[in-house]
């Protein structure tokens, strides 16, 4: 057992190789978050329409996708995505995109992340909109606004702002979940971590010092802990501020999601 801990970090490109992978994770999380937000808002509105059939179907879609394991969706997409779509992506990927985005499988990864997270965000928005709709919606309709008008001018502007803490919490989950795309071979941090581990004249980084798995994964775990800890502090601070200014109206917590549970400040 050598006494030198973490001596592989300084070797050749090891650290840079992994850190670039980590930035890819954050990019994937942010892109997926924005797209899932748009689709999630649409799903929430479908769920809340007056048409019974449409709203039931929307609800079934949301409940199915948010209760499935994300990794099942990722593996499914990797296997099911038509090769022509993947080829189309590989041929047309913009030059400024990160290296990891050149793989056709990234398309499947994004589809799975967006499918799952849009269902989760739709449920967060539904809960937010409905917990406002009681008092505020009644007041709006008493003023003669139609359902759509009250949604657009009264409920959504307030509701979306109040959902910000819950959205930040979901971003933490999403950030962690981006590591799952390593399973289908996307060049992100976990994938690269496993490549750094390959010892003796590493083909990826040129390093000759052996990097123990334990040390590599503890290091990249700590990176996630730092970023996500900052996000969770932000979420908590926003939550407390929002609660003060809204006079204690509490948004209903969405069930079945770990970071939504943890977001509740004592």
């Amino acid at each position: 057992m050598p006494l030198a801990f973490f001596d592989w970090i300084g070797e050749n490109r090891n650290l840079r190789f992994m850190f670039e992978g980590f930035l890819t994770n954050i990019e994937i999380a942010l892109i997926a978050m924005v797209l899932a937000f748009v689709l999630g808002l649409a799903l929430a509105l479908v769920r809340l329409t007056r048409n019974r059939v449409v709203s039931t179907l929307g609800g079934a879609w949301i409940d199915a996708f948010r209760n499935l394991p994300l990794i099942l969706l990722i593996l499914f997409m990797a296997l099911y995505l038509p090769p022509s779509w993947r080829d189309f992506w590989t041929d047309n990927v913009p030059g400024w995109a990160p290296e990891a985005f050149e793989s056709g499988l990234i398309l499947g990864a994004f589809l799975a992340l967006i499918l799952y997270n849009s269902a989760v965000l739709a449920e967060i928005m539904r809960a937010g909109i409905q917990s406002l709709a009681r008092g505020q919606g009644e007041a709006a309709s008493a003023l003669g606004m139609s359902y759509t008008q009250s949604l657009r001018h009264v409920i959504l502007p307030q509701g979306l702002r109040r959902m910000v803490p819950a959205l930040v919490s979901q971003l933490i989950t999403l950030n962690k979940d981006t590591t799952l795309v390593s399973i289908i071979g996307i060049q992100e941090v976990v994938r690269r971590g496993r490549q750094v581990v390959a010892s003796g004249g590493n083909p990826f980084t040129g390093s000759t010092v052996e990097a123990p798995i334990l040390e590599v994964f503890i290091l990249l775990g700590v990176w996630f802990v730092i970023v996500n800890y900052a996000l969770s502090r932000l979420s908590r601070r926003l939550e407390i501020r929002e609660r003060k200014r809204s006079g204690g109206v509490k948004l209903e917590r969405v069930k079945g999601l770990e970071d939504q549970v943890a977001a509740d400040p004592a």
């Binding site: 499935l68 296997l79 976990v190 123990p212 994964f217 775990g221 802990v225 996500n228 069930k255 549970v261």
Partner: protein, 221 residues
């Protein structure tokens, strides 16, 4: 899609499906026990009168809930095995899932403890009960009732997360069963739908059970 062909995927592989389903259930149950025991301990640290213990509890919670589960599973399984600890994959995976969820359980219990009013704690202490007795007899019974709903959420999250564990430590759980069957029949959509139904059955059952418990015992905050 012919309906009979779809159903055949279930019936032709019934033995495999049920053993995968059973393994997923077992991972969740054992990890839940680990999570409850560890989580209760950490929550006790977090509300203990000693600043030092509070800090240890805080570091545990922030580390385990902010690290990706896949990375944690690799640390516990590949990392330890690489360092010479002979650890079984299933054990390592269950442990990782349990320790990860324990951080969330601890947070739920802690906010449950804070939901019991301070007056009760003072009353109990002034009646001559010790800190441990106050915890065990006065606070925790009430705290547990306020946390039925968040713990239910965490069980559902564990069911979904068990699939990550299955991949990380390579055991034949429900998802892996689906992948094995798919690699033989190449009917990707149909086979994955059956695997998905398996997970939805588990999450659905837990949702129902929690709703029943909530109606009976829950204290609304």
């Amino acid at each position: 899609m012919p309906v009979t062909a779809f159903i055949d995927i279930l019936t032709d592989n019934l033995g495999e499906w049920s053993s995968g389903f059973w393994l997923t259930t077992r991972i969740v149950v054992f990890a839940f026990v680990i999570a409850m025991v560890t989580g209760t301990l950490i929550a006790a640290f977090r509300v203990a009168p000693s600043k030092w213990l509070q800090r240890v509890g805080g570091v545990y919670v922030e580390f385990f809930r902010n690290i990706p589960l896949l990375v944690l599973a690799y640390i516990v399984f590949l990392g330890l095995r690489d360092s010479g600890v002979k650890i079984d994959g299933l054990l390592a995976g269950t442990l990782a899932l349990g320790l990860y969820t324990a951080a969330y359980i601890a947070e739920s219990l802690r906010s449950g403890v804070f939901s019991v009013s301070k007056g009760q704690i003072e009353a109990s202490l002034s009646l001559g009960l010790r800190y441990g007795e106050t915890m065990r007899r006065i606070i925790l019974p009430q705290a547990f009732r306020t946390v039925i709903s968040p713990i239910g959420s965490l069980i559902i999250a564990m069911i979904k997360n068990s699939a990550v564990i299955g991949v990380a430590v390579a055991v034949t759980d429900l998802l892996k069963t689906g992948r094995l069957i798919q690699s033989r029949n190449f009917q990707t959509l149909e086979t994955f739908i059956w695997a998905g139904i398996g997970y939805l059955i588990l999450t659905g059952l837990v949702t129902l059970a929690i709703r029943m418990l909530e109606n009976r015992y829950a204290i609304k905050r």
